[in-house]
Amino acid sequence: MEDLKDLYREIILDHSKSPRNFGKISPCTHEGHGDNPLCGDEVSLYLRLGEDETLADVGFEGKGCAISIASASMMTELVKGTSCADAKSRFQQFLTLFSDDSAQSHSDIDDRMKALIGVKQFPMRVKCATLPWHALNAALSGIKSKDDGETKDGC
């Protein structure tokens, strides 16, 4: 039961019940999609890239469990207003949380990321937490190709 309480912390239940930045944004310049074929869950991530190359607006839609919805909700809060580079490094940071036991003690990791650390005790559920971040990464990759001069459809 302690593991469960650690997994479903108050902040996670809160974000899953009232997800922030839920819904497609308009206008939207880039989008990314993540799905988990094992459970059928899916998340779509929408970005508006500002003139200063920051993520001026971020929104998400999707069906998923409390973990994936809370993770998506907290993620949008974290990356909204940051630069693309910052968002990408946060993505890497987030993955490291689950692969490197010492990572959670790093002071530069936001509490909204650390809140999901309880998932480590439930290996089958790690994908739920990382799903929206993969969708974000997919959307950010779209931006990169634009920089490279490739034409890529927006939303």
Partner: protein, 410 residues
Amino acid sequence: MNDMTVFDVEKIRGDFPIFEEKIHGKRLTFLDSGASAQKPVAVLDAVQDAYRHTYANVHRGVHYLSQKSTELYEGARETVRDHLNAASVDEIIFTKSTTEAINLVANSFGQMAIGEGDEILLSYLEHHSNIVPWQLVAERVGATVKAVPIDTNGDLLRDRYEEMLTDRTKIVAITHVSNAIGTVNPVKELIAKAHSKDIPVLIDGSQAIPHMKVDVRDLDADFYVFTGHKVFAPTGIGVLFGKAELLEKMPPYQGGGDMINRVTFEKTTFATGHSKFEAGTPPIVQAIGLGAAIDYVNKIGFDQIAAHEQSLLSYATQELGKLNNIRIIGQAKQKAAIVSFTMDDIHPHDIGTIIDQAGVAVRVGHHCAQPLMDFYDVPSTVRASFALYNNKEDVDALVESIKMVQEFFR
């Protein structure tokens, strides 16, 4: 064969060592037999004995062990034949799974009989393993896959079924029992309707074989497939029953050792009977384990098993129905002991994780039946599937654990 006068579930539970395990320190409530069933001592012993005392490759050597191993392997085939009431052992092909059995028919029968513009008729109740192999064949030959719809209870629309049997339909492939929601299809009637238009029928019996006696001749099925691991046998063994007259005409599926008559680099002639479809060293010990599993369930008797499971199904449906915000998905007229449900606002994955902490094992997800989930407009469900070793205590533990979930998300 029924030598147990009273169905004693506690005695049956004693046959399954897994129930001695504690899960997170709790009693195991195993309600995931629809995914794979636990194994009784009779099967574990048969597997051990085969490896310890009689193991060698089959159909090859003249030495003692090879003969003994062949006898046991072919004995298992006879057990399966007898169980299904097939006319001949040549109609019983061992595969590694239901999936492989369906792929075999889709490819071999498909190559022989399905062409451009033809139709393959499935239903909305199918597992992905009875959808995807047909799509692959259809794509290759330019045929179309069609699916018979269901009503909201999960019963097949029989008038639509009849309408969808056309001159272009070359095969019907349909499940006996839905793995996701438990619907028992009236397969005998469905087969008769198809046969009135000379269309052969494959029945996916994966979820039926653990729960009911199947007589392929009474059903008049052209192909009947199932997997061993859901009927208390090891993994890695499946069965394809096919009518001899069809199998004889069908080309081999895989090539290799054991399925040949004579090989030269210019031309190979193939073995006949079941051997034509069993290339390579077969799953010898798994087949022996399957034989032991079938003997085990027959010793208990399917009348007793079915009565016990149906009482559990009624009890579970009634008790879950008393809880708030539970929606049972699939309320077909005739159901196997499978209860699929969703809870308002709480995702099945969260439910599965939370009740696991109480030792309750259920399947959560789309159950490899995404078209069916789409029909009910749910991404996934919680599925409690019962087997002969479940008891009322299991239902009570499930209901209590669901209350715990509701408390958690309150």
